[in-house]
Amino acid sequence: MKTNMRGVFLNGIFNENPIFRLVLGTCPTIAITTSLSNAFGMGAAATFVLVCSNAIIALIRDFIPSKVRIPAFVVIIAMFVTIVQLVMKAYLPDLDKSLGIFIPLIVVNCIILGRAEAFASKNSVRASIIDGIGMGAGFTIALIMMAAVRELVGNGTLMGNPVFGEGYQPALLFVLAPGGFLVFGLLMALINQVGLKRKRPVKPVEESSFKPPREATEKEDAR
């Protein structure tokens, strides 16, 4: 099967960024982005689950009857989440404590089920793994962006290191619930703005390399 692997990978980061474009998996995004280390931990955990579940689902996609495919996907995902949960409890107890309930809740993260349904159940194992890595990277990058803003403004630190001088009064609101919604909304507006600006100058040649082959050909047909 001829699939543009680079296109599949970059698709997860830019065109279909799960957080800013598809707006999936918003709960952990807002909840755990209070510090950068949380964002890295969550990103890594979700990427691991995403890659593994994509691979397994792509492997057995021909054997799952379509009527029970959703429960089957959920069980596969829950299995990998349980692995992550146990490993994290054993080796990274601090991270486990600060991520808390959001580790088991990766099961219901719509990104993972969404990719299983939309990509892994229709594509080869290799493409699905690449897609999982791309989507996971897109998710992690979005988490890091949000966490950087929130930790910097709300706590005056980055990765726990103080950035501003002693006199800085942290804006606590940014680490609390309202700040999560606010930063998410503003970042998404910013990204939309950049997207709108970039659409004006048409660069079909460069842009097509960022897209999965299917969309690229559709565009050419339209022209």
Binding site: T26, A31, V74, P104, L105, C110, N192
Partner: protein
């Protein structure tokens, strides 16, 4: 009587102070996704109240009568998500048979609830906080009422957006998130109530 007050306070706390959507960040996907119209938001809220209360009850029973005696505590996540998925299916079938009118109202929203992380979240919190059976059910019910309150209020606000001029990059989710932020600030006013 003391116990009664304790239960009452617990429910109030789950509805207002520790609102699952606006303070604990659970169930944000449906909160953003199904809040464009007041009517659909109400339907979703009702379905969630129904399922979440039942799920609290059943996951409690599964945890303490199946998983713990068999020493299968680590299967919690898998068992709970299956229980919730099965429960949603069951509720859908029962409602369809017994009350077609209610099914018309809730029908579309029921399957969506499986992926509502608030339902699994409540079940897990009930266990980790070591609530008793009654407390678990009350907590589940309170959380669901809190969810409904938040989503209905939010839908009321979002309906107003339709008739306003909004800058292009802010349209849709960004503005919705910023209004959710303001709502969340308002709900912070309840801190210290309980």
């Amino acid at each position: 009587m003391d116990y009664f007050f304790k239960i009452l306070l617990m429910m109030l706390s789950a509805i207002l102070v520790n609102n699952y959507v606006l303070a604990k960040f659970l169930g944000i996907c449906p909160f953003l996704g199904v809040s464009k119209k007041l009517e659909t938001a109400t339907g979703m809220g009702m379905a969630v109240i129904f399922v979440m209360t039942l799920a609290s009850l059943i996951t409690y029973l599964v945890q303490y009568f199946i998983l713990v005696p068999l020493g299968l505590g680590y299967m919690q996540t898998i068992a709970f998500i299956l229980v919730i998925a099965a429960l949603v299916q069951l509720v859908e079938m029962v409602i369809q048979k017994s009350s077609p009118a209610l099914y018309q109202g809730l029908g579309v929203y029921l399957p969506l609830i499986t992926t509502n992380c608030a339902v699994l979240g409540v079940a897990l919190i009930n266990i980790s906080e070591k609530y008793t059976l009654i407390e678990s059910v009350i907590n589940g019910f309170g959380a669901a009422v809190g969810f409904t309150l938040a989503i209905v209020l939010f839908a009321g606000i979002r309906e107003k957006f339709a008739v306003r001029q909004i800058p292009k990059p802010m349209q849709g989710f960004p503005l919705a998130l910023i209004s959710a932020s303001l709502m969340s600030i308002a709900f912070m006013g309840f801190t210290g109530l309980v």
